[in-house]
């Protein structure tokens, strides 16, 4: 079953016209309060100083996405367990000649911990966020956020800081002790929104043919289910009735995007569950997501745009298959890795697919990639490290 990503129309829909948001139906825009507080001197707003692209978001509004000169707020789970994810984000930026910073003065957003254990409080969470924003601000580069959880959590933090004077004061005291300003960026930008904004640019550099690749998309809960106004909604995609994130990138790369009935379901990450109560996570991920995708859409790959979702969907499948050999697995990756592969990235030296669990080799074959040769190249490169010829592999090494 294919989804109609073009505007919905047709004989079955005589009584329905296309839907369009008008300003009168949009709820309050957080920018009003943000700039109001800035005027009062209560906080500093970091603005996007360089070139940007405007993308459509919910309620018929738009949002600015900076193109370059960005400060990359990294994700613990990506850098730690799915390093091909962050590597691909940086690789695509580099290929497009974009200037960016990969900072060492960035902490985890600590939201995974917060949602898992609640061993924190509103002030701590807000202070961690603001400290990171201050670091970006001081570097003169606009923050772009790699993780869906960080993105969602920071939106929550922004909302709380704008609404509660009390909290702002406490955070200000903490920032004063650290010698940092109370900064909020004028937009909360997720890296997948950058990929969305740059999709045509990315597609113009595509070297691998994805027209035979079918894809299911899993949108991250924290991207669009909380503080909804920031998420990308495009009237040209799903009639603007679902977030267009990831889907539009996959489409731009020529892949066929397929629908399935549990599109809106969480992946089952659970924050705490994936670490200490995994029976829930893997049951949910395999029964509600993977199995349904397979039965209803049978895609070559499933794409998502968040650390937790990639981890959950990718890692949960082994146990299901061990229990039931007829369980058909689906490879899982981020759209960043998918886009990188489209642009000719090395599946191991860049996309680090060897860190993934679900079998991705049939997908690579379909993409026309000789994965055995690619693996040999990877082993050759790491052999140089083992022999001490180099300490680390470089970006040049990755483009073998």
């Amino acid at each position: 079953m294919t989804i109609p990503v073009e505007k919905v129309a047709g004989p079955g829909r005589k009584n329905k016209a296309a839907f369009e948001w008008t300003d009168e139906h949009a709820p309050e825009d957080f920018h009003e309060r943000l700039f109001e507080l800035e005027d009062k001197g209560e906080l500093v707003v970091q603005r996007i100083s360089g070139d940007y692209i405007e993308v459509p978001v919910k309620y018929g509004r738009t949002k600015k996405v900076p193109i370059g000169h960005t400060w990359h707020h990294k994700s613990c789970g990506q850098c730690g367990h799915i390093p091909g994810y962050s590597t691909s984000i940086f690789w695509v930026n580099r290929k497009l000649g974009i200037e960016y910073e990969d900072p060492r003065d960035q902490t985890s957003c600590t939201a995974w911990n917060y949602y898992a254990s609640a061993t924190s409080n509103a002030a701590a969470q807000a202070s961690v966020a603001v400290r990171n924003f201050a670091a970006a601000y001081e570097s003169g580069r606009f923050p772009i956020i790699h993780c869906g959880t960080s993105f969602g959590h920071y939106k929550e933090v922004r909302h709380e800081l704008l609404a509660h004077d009390h909290l702002r004061e406490e955070v200000r005291r903490v920032m004063d002790a650290l010698g940092k300003p109370l900064v909020l960026p004028e937009e909360m930008v997720h890296y997948s929104e950058w990929f969305h904004a740059m999709r045509l640019e990315i597609a113009s550099r595509q070297v691998r043919d994805f027209s035979g690749i079918s894809v299911t998309v899993h949108p991250a809960c924290h991207y669009y289910k909380l503080v909804e106004g920031d998420a990308i909604y495009d009237p040209e995609v799903y009639g603007g009735q679902r977030t267009a994130i990831v889907s539009e990138v996959a489409q731009a790369l020529g892949a066929e995007v397929r629908d399935y009935s549990t599109w809106f379901d969480c992946c089952g990450f659970g924050f705490r569950h994936i670490l200490v109560q995994r029976d829930f996570t893997r049951s949910f991920a395999t029964q509600r997501k993977i199995r349904r995708m397979k039965e209803e859409a049978d895609p070559d790959v499933t794409l998502t745009h968040d650390t937790g979702c990639v981890t959950t969907l990718d890692k949960s499948q082994f146990a299901a298959k061990a229990q039931d050999p007829s369980f058909a697995t689906i490879p899982v990756m981020s759209e960043a890795q998918f886009a990188a592969l489209a642009m000719g990235a090395h599946p191991y030296l860049v996309c680090q697919l060897h860190w993934h669990a679900a079998d991705y080799k049939p997908l690579l074959e379909k993409m026309g990639i000789d994965h055995e040769r690619a693996w040999a190249q990877f082993e050759e490169a790491t052999a140089r490290l083992e022999r001490g010829e180099q300490q680390y592999l470089t970006w040049e090494d990755a483009d073998v």
Binding site: C76, G80, D105, A118, T119, S127, R131
Partner: protein
């Protein structure tokens, strides 16, 4: 307001939510006090309006599918200020929430997941045994964040920690140091942290946790972890020229 205030306690093995209390040994005043703490949180009034029992939150909730868990019952108990029921939920239900916020589809604007976040914080702050149990095995993450500034690290990928994730974990673990050096981004060559973080940044994070009281929560949860952290951070603070007030 609680309907259960003057009813004779029934046995703990009676069906959940019958009139009566399932925690007869805990004084009613204690349950009241805990709820008062929840209610006093700044965010509580953002998270709870009224509930007309439409069930949308339960329908959207992943945890409701696999557990006897209901965000609707959490919102209802909170709205009714039924301290007995709320105490029971704190002991038995709140750790099942996936924190996915699908329940924000609530047409009244309630945030049951958010109410649960506050309930969890209060449970941890008050040293509830169920909170300790739920987070047993989890405290290594807290130690990881506090000592490295990232929540997970490559060296956590070990086959005995994640046996159900398949052979890729063992492979990564075996080749970890080599495969990390094979990563192009120069902040990614680490094994004990997610990415390379400057010591100053680490210290700033610690100061944040100290000043906002988050560190105290850790001592409630795991006192030995807390002292270990204090030891580790003392040196770093010294190095960076900070003093804890």
């Amino acid at each position: 307001m609680s309907a259960t205030a003057n009813i004779t306690p029934v046995h703990a093995d009676s069906a959940a939510y019958k009139l009566g209390t399932t925690y007869p040994d805990v004084p009613y005043e204690e349950k009241e006090r805990l709820f008062a703490e929840i209610k006093a949180d700044d965010r509580f009034s953002d998270y709870l309006y009224g509930c007309y029992e439409c069930g949308i939150c339960v329908a959207a909730c992943p945890s409701a599918r696999y557990y006897d868990f209901s965000p609707r019952r959490v919102a209802q108990a909170a709205a009714r200020e039924d301290v007995e029921l709320i105490y029971q939920q704190m002991q038995e239900d709140i750790w099942e929430c996936s924190q996915c916020f699908s329940c924000l589809r609530c047409p009244r604007g309630n945030n049951p997941g958010g109410i649960i976040t506050v309930m969890r914080e209060v449970a941890v702050n008050n040293g509830l045994e169920s909170a300790r149990q739920a987070l047993r095995g989890y405290t290594r993450i807290i130690y990881k964040i506090m000592s490295t500034g990232t929540q997970v690290s490559p060296d956590m990928l070990q086959a005995d920690a994640f046996p159900d994730w398949g052979p890729s974990v063992a492979m990564v673990s075996e080749k970890l140091e080599l495969w990390r050096r094979a990563l192009p981004p120069d902040t990614h060559h680490t094994t004990t942290t997610g990415w390379e973080i400057s010591t100053k940044t680490l210290v700033e994070l610690y100061l944040i946790w100290h000043k906002t009281g988050a560190l105290n929560m850790i001592s409630e949860l795991d006192p030995s972890l807390h002292s270990l952290l204090e030891e580790v951070m003392e040196d770093l603070l010294d190095e960076e020229g900070y003093e804890l007030d």
